[in-house]
């Protein structure tokens, strides 16, 4: 089983960064050269950038949700966002990519299709607003992947198994660790930013209206960018999670398993079971064309 403890111990013993330590672990576990894993991640980052560009300029819309990402872009022209320039931009990108996914766009599942906006939102807004070099963004992506792999190993990345905490929650934890690494904080701070996010989304349910990856998924992609940022700031300032990060991930898994079936991607509870959601579901059924 993967653990933050092991990655941190590799990093501290060999004086490596979080992404370097994780790459070394992956290389050992799967017998693949570090350079080759890195190359795959470079290509993933390129695909991700491509999805951001397409999503921002093609203004896609889903079956239920229209395009909303441009609105928060326009809002920034006349207002100084309370959440700051970085969050507002990250949210805009996250909304755009998640909507692009709903419109059958080509995206990188990170870690899943339903949560595919958060990581590109954080990484590319950070690149624009704080001018991080490309190499740092790539290492941020690898850091995020390392955190995702630990969550996959100790818990799950599937909404049907662990609720939305396993999808958008995990994506936010991954993005938070990426930011902390990119800021140059310690390997411990990377792990603690992820733990702080998970503690804040514990119990988040998976309740998609009509079973589609749109409501509330798309907006959760937008809002959870902010949690990633604040938890990264907290951890980088030296605030730590009282409960060790690995124990937090283990708790996340147990909470996910304890969620009733109605709140695990079955569309029988939560937002999916509200009167308006049921009306939307009916209307979608009525509009569904003949299958032939």
């Amino acid at each position: 089983m993967l653990s933050f403890e092991e990655i941190l111990s590799i990093a501290n013993t060999k004086n490596l960064s979080f992404p370097e330590a994780f790459l070394e672990k992956q290389s050992m576990d799967y017998g693949e050269e570090v350079s080759s894993i890195k190359k795959t991640m470079e290509s993933r980052l390129m695909e991700m950038r491509h999805s951001v560009e397409e999503a921002l300029c093609s203004k896609p819309s889903g079956k239920i949700v229209p395009n909303t990402a441009y609105k928060i872009g326009q809002y920034q022209e006349g207002n100084q966002p309370f959440s700051g320039k970085f969050i507002a931009r990250a949210c805009q990108i996250a909304l755009a990519v998640a909507t692009y996914n709903a419109s059958m766009g080509r995206i990188v599942a990170a870690p899943t299709a339903g949560s595919c906006g958060i990581l590109p939102g954080i990484l590319f807004a950070a690149k624009e607003v704080f001018s991080f070099p490309q190499e740092t963004i790539l290492e941020g992506l690898i850091t995020a992947g390392g955190i995702g792999a630990i969550i996959a190993s100790r818990a799950t990345l599937a909404g049907a198994e662990g609720g939305c905490q396993a999808e958008c929650g995990a994506a936010s934890a991954m993005a938070s660790g990426a930011l902390t690494y990119m800021r140059g904080a310690s390997v411990e701070a990377v792990a603690h930013s992820a733990a702080l996010v998970i503690k804040s989304i514990l119990g988040l349910v998976c309740d998609p209206v009509a079973g589609l990856v749109e409501v509330p998924c798309i907006k959760r992609n937008g809002t959870l960018t902010s949690l990633a940022a604040i938890c990264s700031d907290m951890a980088s300032s030296g605030i730590t999670s009282t409960i060790p990060p690995d124990e937090v991930v283990d708790a996340m898994y147990k909470v996910g398993r304890a969620l009733p079936e109605t709140l695990r991607e079955t569309s029988l509870g939560g937002i999916a079971a509200t009167p308006t959601a049921l009306k939307i579901t009916e209307s979608l059924k009525a509009h569904t064309p003949d299958i032939k």
């Binding site: 992956q26 419109s103 990170a110 990856v213 299958i291």
Partner: protein, 220 residues
């Protein structure tokens, strides 16, 4: 989990199970059919039947049948592509007791023969084939494979593995399924490399009770 699975796959949205998995399932079914797809009926089951429209499950399956991968940007236009290629297809909904929640049945036909398959999308874009012509079996499509249909008789498995051994082909996994003692049986042999035509022919002839051999060749 591998890093490339955490940050990935690259796919056409919106759903890894209902879109990416559906495309993968269509592609796997077409590979097992092993002939140009001319006439196919697809029966959607469970949640595939309930939410196909919202997830583009129909176009994803059709795209897979055309040989497109789950990240192919042509997926949304698969209906047009299939029409251009003169494929006759139709989708139906089907309610089958005990069916996998995200599954589909395929019925392929051409002038001389037909083949039926049932497969499911099992999460994260992964799929499994669960039935061929009424035979229950399990095949992921992650590796090249041979599927043999034979009578449940002593010596069949040894004959088949003997041919593979003498040709230096390594077996990755091997599963045997039978309909009853002395009745029909199917075997799925996953391999580390594609089997050549000569090997497939040799296996077809290696035991009198082997009725049919279907290869799954990947990346060709």
């Amino acid at each position: 989990m591998r890093l490339e699975e955490v940050i990935g796959p690259v796919m056409i949205g919106p759903s890894s199970s209902h879109t990416a998995g559906a495309a993968r399932l269509g592609k796997l079914a077409a590979l097992i059919w092993g002939r140009p797809v001319k006439d196919v009926t697809i029966f959607l089951r469970g949640s595939f039947a309930a939410t196909w429209w919202g997830h583009g499950t129909d176009v994803a399956i059709l795209a897979g049948l055309l040989g497109f991968s789950p990240d192919d940007p042509r997926i949304p236009n698969a209906r047009k592509e299939a029409k251009r290629k003169g494929i006759q297809w139709s989708f139906r909904e089907e309610h089958e007791d005990g069916a996998h929640p995200n599954s589909a049945r395929f019925l392929f036909k051409n002038e001389s023969t037909s083949m039926e398959m049932v497969g499911a999308s099992v999460g994260g874009g992964a799929v499994k084939l669960m039935e061929i012509d009424g035979f229950r079996l399990e095949l992921s499509g992650d590796l090249p494979a041979l599927i043999t249909f034979h009578k449940d008789t002593p010596g069949v498995v040894a004959s088949i593995t003997g041919v593979l051994a003498s040709n230096g082909l390594n077996i990755a996994t091997l599963t045997l399924h039978r309909q009853g003692r002395g009745k029909g049986a199917a075997m799925v042999v996953e391999l580390d490399e594609n089997p050549s035509k000569a090997i497939i022919d040799a296996i077809s002839r290696c035991h009198a009770e082997i009725l049919r051999v279907l290869p799954l060749k990947l990346g060709e």
